[in-house]
């Protein structure tokens, strides 16, 4: 019972944050709504017994990625967005596409699991289990992802450095 209440509360909070993210006109408010979404997701992970994933969700997403978002918004001093009526393409294709997509996902979920539910805390989520899975069963995907991230980092370094101005001695 307690689990259900906690689940419903944070599920609702998560959805409210997501809606607020879209409704807010100021980028900072939107970013903070996203932090709320991440935080409530972390609590839902905790309820499932995935404590490590929950902690990483908070440390990495809420504590680092979103801080960088806020940092960039602050740096650019982005002001309020102007509300437009939205493009016709988005209205024509976006909404039906979203409906079809969510229906598809829902259908697959129901097909695959039927009326089964996962008991709270039933999933293996201890750090030891996660580490074992990552470095045994999913070693190749894990390493491929690391290389992907490495490429992204190198790309960022190349884009950010200015070889023609930085190469010699520093100016000034």
């Amino acid at each position: 019972m307690t689990h259900l209440i906690i689940f419903l509360f944070f599920g609702a909070l998560c959805l409210a944050g997501a809606v607020n993210l879209l409704v807010q006109r100021h980028p900072i408010n939107s970013a903070l709504s996203l932090v709320v979404v991440m935080g409530s997701l972390a609590v839902e992970y905790l309820l499932l017994g995935a404590e490590f994933v929950a902690a990483v969700q908070v440390i990495v997403y809420a504590g680092a990625v979103m801080v960088l978002f806020v940092f960039v918004i602050m740096l650019l001093n982005a002001g309020e967005e102007v509300r437009t009526k939205g493009s016709r393409v988005a209205m024509l294709f976006g909404i039906p596409g979203m409906l079809v997509g969510s229906a598809l996902v829902g259908w697959v979920l129901i097909e695959r699991t039927g009326s089964q539910t996962v008991a709270a805390g039933a999933l293996p989520g201890a750090p030891r289990t996660i580490g074992w899975l990552l470095f045994h069963n999913f070693l190749l995907p894990f390493e491929v992802t690391s290389i992907l991230v490495l490429i992204a980092i190198m790309g960022a370094v190349v884009l950010a450095s200015h070889p023609d101005t930085d190469s010699g001695k520093k100016k000034s």
């Binding site: 903070l32 440390i59 809420a62 806020v70 008991a119 709270a120 805390g121 039933a122 293996p124």
Partner: protein, 377 residues
């Protein structure tokens, strides 16, 4: 229904549930009812917060006194003996000062920012154990508000959220000094969080647990006859210890890493536009964070509350707490000592030091520790 509940509990891994399970075990062992448990928890929480806030106030006093003596001054002397009542006077002053709200600030975040800072700074105390446990009659009370099996991760998570307070304060004040302070704070805290996290992984590998209580328990006893089995000695984590200490100074925005509030260039940095209690909240958050950092360093590297224990049972229960507090006090003193000694980094030096020196060193330490752990196993 009863059966189902039992099943749920046997397959648990989550801290919420392990807390529930722990609570039930506690209740079973002590034949207690839930009311007693809630009352005990409430008392522990209130007591911990009271002690923490008092400690925060007196750390400020300690800092003024110690820095004063280092600079050949007396520090506070007027209010009470040795100026001991100065924190009270300061508190009253903060309460009665005019609470200014400058024009053109973004009000919701301007008001929320100090609260965010202080809430996250005070939250970490919930998982920090301060000693073994005390027995009152039939009641067996662990000296910790709650023991979760990912305690360390929770502390890291909560501290990583604390940066929002500083960043949002800087942005919402709508002042160039505040904005620069906020920007510096977020960049600095993200950069140093990486080496801070990596410096802790060595200890985690040696212990194999995220629970702070487990980490302390493995550090009991001595080796080679007399050297305590603390992680800094036995695990060879002294490099990690210094990486942690340096990164923690940067995380708490203290000299020599106090660029977010560098008063010579930014007036007061991110809290330039704050006054009265809102300013005091940033102050409290900074000192509470210092205490958390000192507590984590003691628990992870210096054996937590281990130390010589003698005497009657009540003394045996309370002496570990004393040893733990003594370590925290030592760390706070070093904090103040460093503040009285070192000049501030330049911004490029700060970034270069963090990324080009501390981070590679932390990674190297991690690799060596992993090798040692693998060879020992």
């Amino acid at each position: 229904m009863q059966e189902r509940g039992r099943d749920d509990l046997t397959s648990v891994g989550g801290p919420v549930l392990s807390a529930v399970e722990g609570t039930r075990a506690l209740l079973r062992n002590n034949a207690l009812n839930i009311t007693t448990f809630i009352i005990v928890s409430l008392i522990k929480t209130v007591l911990a917060l009271f002690v923490l806030l008092t400690a925060v106030a007196y750390t400020v006093w300690l800092e003024r006194k110690v820095v004063g003596h280092m600079q050949n001054r007396w520090g506070p002397t007027r209010v009470g003996p040795f100026g001991l009542l100065q924190p009270l006077a300061d508190g009253v002053k903060f309460l009665f000062k005019e609470d200014l709200t400058p024009p053109h600030v973004y009000k919701p975040l301007y008001i929320a920012a100090p609260m965010i800072a202080v809430i996250f700074a005070l939250t970490s105390i919930a998982v920090i154990p301060v000693g073994n446990s005390i027995t009152l009659g039939s009641l067996h009370i662990p000296l910790q508000i709650t023991d979760v099996n990912i305690g360390l991760l929770i502390i890291l998570g909560v501290t990583s959220l604390g940066v929002y307070g500083v960043a949002l304060a800087g942005w919402s004040s709508n002042s160039k000094y505040s904005l620069l302070g906020g920007l510096r704070a977020s960049a600095q805290m993200i950069s140093y969080e990486i080496s801070l996290g990596l410096s802790l992984v060595g200890v985690l590998m040696l212990t194999g647990s995220f629970s702070l209580r487990d980490i302390v328990d493995t550090q009991g006893g001595t080796f080679w006859g007399f050297i305590p089995r603390w992680n800094i000695f036995y695990g060879g984590q002294f490099i990690a210890f210094f990486i942690y200490l340096i990164s923690a100074y940067a995380e708490t925005n203290r000299i020599p890493f106090d660029l977010p509030e560098a008063e010579t260039e930014l007036v007061a940095g991110y809290h330039t536009e704050y006054s009265a209690m809102k300013f005091a909240m940033f102050f409290m958050a900074e000192y509470a964070n210092m205490i958390t950092v000192a507590a984590v360093a003691s628990l992870l590297f210096l054996g937590g509350w281990h130390g010589p224990v003698v005497g009657p049972p009540i003394l045996r229960a309370l002496l570990p707490v004393f040893w733990f507090v003594l370590r925290i006090f030592g760390f706070l003193f070093v904090y103040i000592w460093v503040r009285g000694t070192l000049p501030r980094f330049r911004y490029d030096q700060l970034m270069a030091f963090g990324w080009k020196f501390l981070l590679p060193l932390a990674i190297a330490n991690l690799l060596v520790t992993a090798l040692v752990v693998a060879l020992r196993a």
